[in-house]
Symmetry: C2
DNA sequence: ATTATAGGCTAATTGTAATTAGCCGTCAAG
DNA sequence: CTTGACGGCTAATTACAATTAGCCTATAAT
């Protein structure tokens, strides 16, 4: 990995831990294994590092979201993957989402960084809401609309259904961000939640 | 209000907005209407201000929690207030909790400050989890256990029930912290959620 | 072979934040 | 009335963070 990428990498790590303002360029440099002034061969300023991280993140997010049709309101209609709403399948969706958010190193660090910086300016706050609230709700909503249309789920307000499904995932995620040791407990509770959710919304006809 | 209190007041305001590390004692002093060195007549250091805020917060929290038996696992048994689980009553509990968290100036600012500082050290993270996750879940759980015992709600896993009730409240709260303009939308969705929740868990016998 | 560039370093420079030193006016208690 | 403490101020002091200047080496292209 070249130096520029290493700088971005350790900066994200440090920003996620302490926040932009509490990280010094000297610390970034040290973690990279160079001296502070050398950073300026790669970035115009400390802020430029942060901005580059934001851009990189946006880029990756678009990629992932494009793959999942997670943004926009055009959840795929083919229903290929989620053709029936078995409890097991819903558990997989939920635990999969949870684990991805929690364990993907990049996603995790970026989320923590945004958590710390979300009040610093409106743009960052809006970005946080979009990535970790609105888009996931939209995505889940799309799935549920599909499953309702195909008769696998009861008719109900899609938004309500999405928030009832996703909010516990989100809450448990924030716990594990602070206290990773609680992951096991979180997943157990998450599964119980989804099974319960499934029973509440499923058409009365599956195992 | 005396100067010492004013210092705490404006410090909380600023810390909640920008985080401890991005607030300078000069800014605190200016907001109070004095010069920076004068702060040191009231506090030993900048950190001492932060610590005083934490203590004050703990004190207030204990007071409130004692009033609600919100912490500990001894939710009151008298059932005086929530003696029946009407949809309306659950909506009141939920919207009340939401509004209190969102609009009480002190509670709101403190929550934002902790949100920013939650990864700074383990103690702050644990405090966040306790105040905004575990204790509310315990509290809700206590209520639900009671309502189940008195036959107003279906038997179900209390933890699951509590997280399904509370997580959407929490999620909507974080949205409004970032984007206060979305409060109306949030309350509408919150009410729909609780009504749905109520129908899912109520014994089949109420309006 | 030469040379330009990339990327590293040391040594300033600049700016500013936290804190300390020490002065001064007010006012309440003796 | 006078004195001490309370709380304000100005002017250092100290520390250190961000950035710039300018040098040096290796290497890759001409």
């Amino acid at each position: 990995m070249n130096t520029k990428e290493r700088i971005l990498d350790v900066s994200l790590e440090l920003f996620a831990q302490r926040g932009y303002g509490n990280v010094y360029v000297g610390q970034i440099a040290e973690a990279v294994g160079i001296k502070a002034p050398s950073l300026y061969k790669h970035f115009k300023s400390k802020r430029a590092i942060f901005d580059a991280l934001l851009e990189e993140m946006q880029r990756r997010y678009m990629e992932t979201a494009a793959g999942l049709q997670m943004n926009g309101n055009n959840a795929r209609e083919d229903g290929m993957v989620f053709s029936h709403a078995s409890e097991k399948e819903l558990v997989n969706i939920g635990v999969g989402l949870f684990s991805y958010f929690l364990h993907d190193e990049y996603v995790k660090k970026f989320r923590k960084m945004l958590t710390i910086e979300q009040f610093a300016d409106l743009e960052l706050g809006a970005l946080y809401t979009k990535n970790y609230v609105d888009d996931p709700l939209m995505y889940q909503g799309g799935i549920f609309k599909m499953l309702m249309a195909s008769g696998h789920l009861q008719k109900a307000d899609v938004k309500v259904m999405a928030i009832q499904f996703y909010a516990p995932i989100y809450l448990l995620l924030t716990i594990c961000d602070r206290e990773p040791s609680r992951e096991k407990e979180a997943i157990t509770l998450l599964k119980k939640h989804i099974r319960q959710f499934s029973r509440q919304y499923a058409k009365a006809n599956q195992e």
